[in-house]
């Protein structure tokens, strides 16, 4: 075939494709075109095919004598699955990682950024390409699985289950990789991340491979509980999928744009999802498995507190000013702004969001205990004061107190740093916050060791100085119910309360910024006095890219 002929055929094919491809994400089209010419993709494709052929031939030879009456389908499927799993959990996610990273390395990203393509489209496009590759691999494997279904002992339910969750996990892993590819620009950090990522993917592969073997060998009962757990995992996974998607999009968005909103909304949705699931489970299972006195509600509180501690770690350190673009795009209606305000970027609004939900955790937790008792049909239902004086409740509240204390301190310190040295980045605030927390954890040990407290003791009992160490204190209050635990509780509540008050002015200022924004005059006549003001502000704040 001559090249001219080939070209014209490609042209023709392109023209046909053109008619249908308009509404497909441009990134997907680009990636498909590239991967059709890429050696890596073709190699993976061919190798998987070859591996499956080899498995079939060797397997048939090996089982030749027993193939007609022995349930060998299982062995065949597992071998095919391993080939698929390697591609799904290692090759495709790692490819996604590389694809977004090279996009950013090659100077191509900037010209992409100023097209009308949105960052979310770029991320979704990359994900969809990964998905498409996975589907192509499924198509490669399908005939072999069909072959294994002809053999004895084929279990359609388990095979479908494995194939479905594998696709979901592949998507999750790819999303995770895409997110990681946008974090950090330093070369050493990246090298480290690649190693870390490869290690993670390989261990994901091996754990999935053995889980599949376990499931295929009849290891799990496909009963209601099994499906319920799967549903919970799916919902949890999905929420993190969306969270990671938002984080990735935020990383690809210009700084002056609203980068926190999506992340904060999803993190809040996760919080409510958790409690809704917990209430649902408690109502369903209360009569058979749960009683109100169980630790159930308390463990939910631990998870949700941990969630907010992490969200808060990132949220409270953000830079305070709302950029001109954000202020301009705020809704006209006050009530809409009121709904939005805690999701807007900025440390004070982050602190408001986190504190609000940490405090909300207390009634949610008490309510869950009550509902569990109610659903279990228990006769002597707890009163509010009864619930409050419950030791586990105290312990939860102490936890919340500590989290508010450290986050509030972090916000105050970061805001102070940003004021003093305007070049401070949120990351600096986070490091300082980590160090502060670490110092609170370690310094009591150091002081007690220096004064010789540990010298003639066999066991390390709790010393009142430890109240500033949240780890020891929370452990103690969890295990004991005595005067000392009362002291820890009081300290945590007091410390949290004081920090809350200390943050109040800043938080109110932050809320005011979002509720009654100074709207930029978009087409103001730009006279030199405005410019002088801007320059003066830049000099004072050191922020050299105009935000306001």
């Amino acid at each position: 075939m001559s090249t001219a002929e080939k070209t014209s055929r490609i042209d023709l094919a392109l023209q046909r494709m053109n008619a249908y491809s308009d509404w497909i994400n441009p990134i997907v089209i680009k990636e498909v075109r590239q991967s059709l010419k890429s050696k890596l993709f073709v190699t993976t494709f061919m190798l998987s095919l070859a591996a499956c052929w080899a498995i079939s031939v060797i397997g048939i030879m090996f089982f030749w004598n027993v193939i007609e009456y022995s349930p060998v389908s299982l062995q065949f499927f597992i071998c095919y699955y391993w080939v698929l799993a390697f591609a799904l959990f290692v090759v495709i996610p790692f490819g996604a990682f590389g694809s977004l990273q090279t996009e950013r390395d090659q100077n191509t990203f900037e010209i992409l950024q100023i097209t009308t393509l949105q960052p979310s489209q770029i991320v979704t496009g990359k994900l969809a390409s990964a998905m498409l590759q996975a589907i192509i691999l499924y198509a490669v494997i399908a005939p072999f699985i069909a072959f294994s279904s002809l053999l004895q002992g084929f279990d359609l339910l388990r095979v479908s289950y494995e194939m479905t969750i594998s696709l979901a996990i592949c998507m999750g892993a790819s999303m995770c990789c895409l997110m990681l590819s946008t974090l950090g620009k330093q070369k050493n950090f990246r090298t480290l991340m690649v190693l870390f990522l490869l290690g993670g993917l390989v261990s994901l592969f091996s754990s999935q491979a053995s889980f599949a073997a376990y499931v295929m060998a009849g290891g799990a009962d496909f009963d209601t509980e099994f499906y319920l757990w799967n549903l919970l995992f799916f919902l949890g996974g999905l929420s993190y999928f969306f969270l990671f998607h938002q984080i990735t999009v935020a990383q690809l968005t210009f700084e002056a744009e609203n980068r926190s909103f999506g992340i904060r909304v999803i993190a809040t949705a996760q919080f409510y999802l958790l409690w809704i699931c917990m209430y649902a489970i408690s109502i369903m299972y209360a009569s058979t498995m749960l009683r109100y006195s169980d630790d159930y509600a308390w463990s939910c509180a631990v998870i949700s507190n941990f969630h907010w501690a992490i969200v808060g770690f990132f949220a409270v350190t953000e830079a305070e000013p709302l950029s001109r673009r954000i202020r301009r795009d705020l809704p006209k209606s006050f009530w809409k702004r009121w709904l939005m305000v805690s999701f807007l970027p900025g440390g004070s609004r982050g602190f408001f969001l986190v504190t609000k939900h940490l405090l909300l955790t207390i009634p949610l937790m008490l309510g869950l205990q009550y509902v569990t008792g109610l659903a279990a049909g228990e006769t002597n239902l707890p009163t509010l004061s009864g619930l409050l004086s419950e030791h586990k409740t105290e312990s939860s509240i102490a936890q919340i107190g500590y989290i508010i204390f450290f986050l509030g301190m972090g916000r105050l310190i970061t805001a102070g740093m940003m004021k003093a040295a305007p070049s401070t980045r949120p990351a600096h605030g986070r490091v300082v916050m980590l160090i502060t927390t670490l110092m609170c954890v370690l310094s009591p040990y150091l002081i007690l060791w220096l004064v010789g407290y540990y010298e003639n003791r066999m066991t390390l009992d709790y010393h009142p100085l430890m109240v500033i160490n949240p780890v020891e204190s929370l452990r103690y209050i969890n295990d004991n119910d005595d005067a000392m635990s009362r002291l820890i509780f009081s300290f945590a509540v007091l410390a949290g309360g004081i920090v809350l008050l200390a943050n109040l002015p800043g938080t109110l200022r932050g809320l005011r910024q979002g509720l009654w924004p100074e709207r930029p005059d978009p087409y103001r006549a730009l006279d030199y006095s405005t410019v002088r003001e801007q320059l003066q502000r830049a000099e004072e704040t050191g922020v050299t890219a105009v935000m306001g």
């Binding site: 392109l14 978009p522 801007q534």
Partner: protein, 366 residues
């Protein structure tokens, strides 16, 4: 006029003249009475709406003032050269115009939209070609252009038309299926230009498009740009150090150094003004040619004459600086002719655009 004076005059004169640009179709009333803030002396009618308007633009990186009060205006169909030595802030300004960066103070408007407030609208109006742009692997010319057409939201026949238009204009049709990472520098600059043109923006911002091109490719690029500006009415901001090039490509220029505009106007204006400055100045460079072997002696003789600052010898040429007025010049010449030296040539050093540039910029390194 020093650059600060320039700024002050602009600061006062251009106050509240931008008015409220709304969309490209709006009448140009907002511009009426717009005093000359820069380079619209290029025979353009001031009633026309400016396509690029940079106003008191500042961009600092910490202590470094990469762009320090830059203002200029460009009207439809104009090709504006953005000239400055390395590190003078050209790329920084252009990135702000392309919405890739934000200013510290001031604002810039493209097609009437602020780069700070309306980046999306600016992006529709601007095609930006950075000095170095990445090339995707495993992709050919058509696929590359097609991808960007899609990325700009062109659909169906519109997209195919855009592809055709660009392939024909850049003459890349015969290379349509060539992998882009095998293209020569000249061809890949054409591809870059094609990409910039794919969504047919009225404003093009080209960062050193001629860098690294051979003379032929440069001439071709110049022709493409001429067509774009004269026939298609595009406003083009083009940065370069290659000054001799700019005289032919651009109708006006902004000369920038260390983040500040040193001169702006039509190329001819800049040149004339420079020559006039030179004529007024009292420190002129002359070149004299004498017959073989007399150069050294002439140099020594010259140094003994009044108003001569220095004299250098290069084979049969003698260059010397002279700070006297025209009468002193005349005297010197008369004495030189009457002396024993066999003078063949006597001229003032020729002033090219290059010289104007060298004279205007001071070689400030930040």
């Amino acid at each position: 006029m020093s650059s600060t004076e320039l700024d002050k005059s602009r600061a006062t004169s251009s106050a509240s003249t931008v008015g409220a640009p709304t969309d490209s179709a709006s009448p140009a009333t907002a511009i009426n009475g717009h005093p000359n803030p820069g380079i619209d002396a290029a025979g353009t009618t001031p009633e026309r709406k400016p396509m690029i308007e940079v106003r008191h633009l500042h961009r600092f990186f910490g202590k470094l003032k990469a762009v320090n009060n830059v203002s200029f205006t460009a009207y439809p169909g104009q090709v504006v050269g953005f000239i400055g030595p390395n590190g003078s802030g050209k790329t920084t300004t252009m990135r702000i115009l392309a919405t890739l960066d934000l200013p510290t103070a001031g604002d810039a408007f493209v097609n009437g939209y602020s780069v700070i407030d309306d980046p999306d609208k600016v992006r529709h109006a601007v095609g930006f070609m950075p000095d170095a742009f990445g090339r995707y692997p495993n992709m050919d010319v058509v696929e590359y252009l097609d991808f960007f057409a899609r990325a700009y939201g062109l659909r169906g026949q519109k997209r195919l038309d855009a592809l055709d238009r660009v392939l024909i204009f850049t003459e890349l049709r015969k290379m349509a299926h060539k992998p882009i990472n095998t293209l020569s520098k000249g061809m890949s600059q054409r591809l870059g230009l094609g990409r910039v043109l794919i969504h047919d923006p009225p404003v093009l911002i080209l960062d050193e498009p001629a860098a690294g091109l051979d003379p032929r490719a440069r001439v071709e690029l110049r022709e493409l740009i001429a067509v774009l500006s004269t026939e298609l009415g595009k406003t083009i901001l083009i940065s370069s150090h290659i000054l001799t090039e700019l005289g032919e490509i651009c109708d006006s220029a902004v000369i920038i150094e260390a983040g500040q505009v040193l001169a702006s106007g039509t190329i001819k204006d800049i040149n004339d003004k420079h020559l006039k400055d030179l004529a007024d100045s009292k420190n002129i460079l002359f070149i004299t040619r004498v017959l073989n072997g007399q150069a050294e002696a002439l140099a020594t003789w010259l140094l003994e004459q009044p108003f001569v600052l220095d004299a250098n010898v290069a084979s049969e040429l003698v260059r010397f600086r002279f700070e006297g007025d025209v009468h002193a010049q005349h005297d010197l010449l008369k004495r030189m002719i009457n002396s024993k030296f066999e003078i063949i040539e006597f001229q003032r050093k020729a002033e090219t655009l290059e010289d104007a540039f060298m004279a205007i910029t001071k070689g400030i390194v930040q």
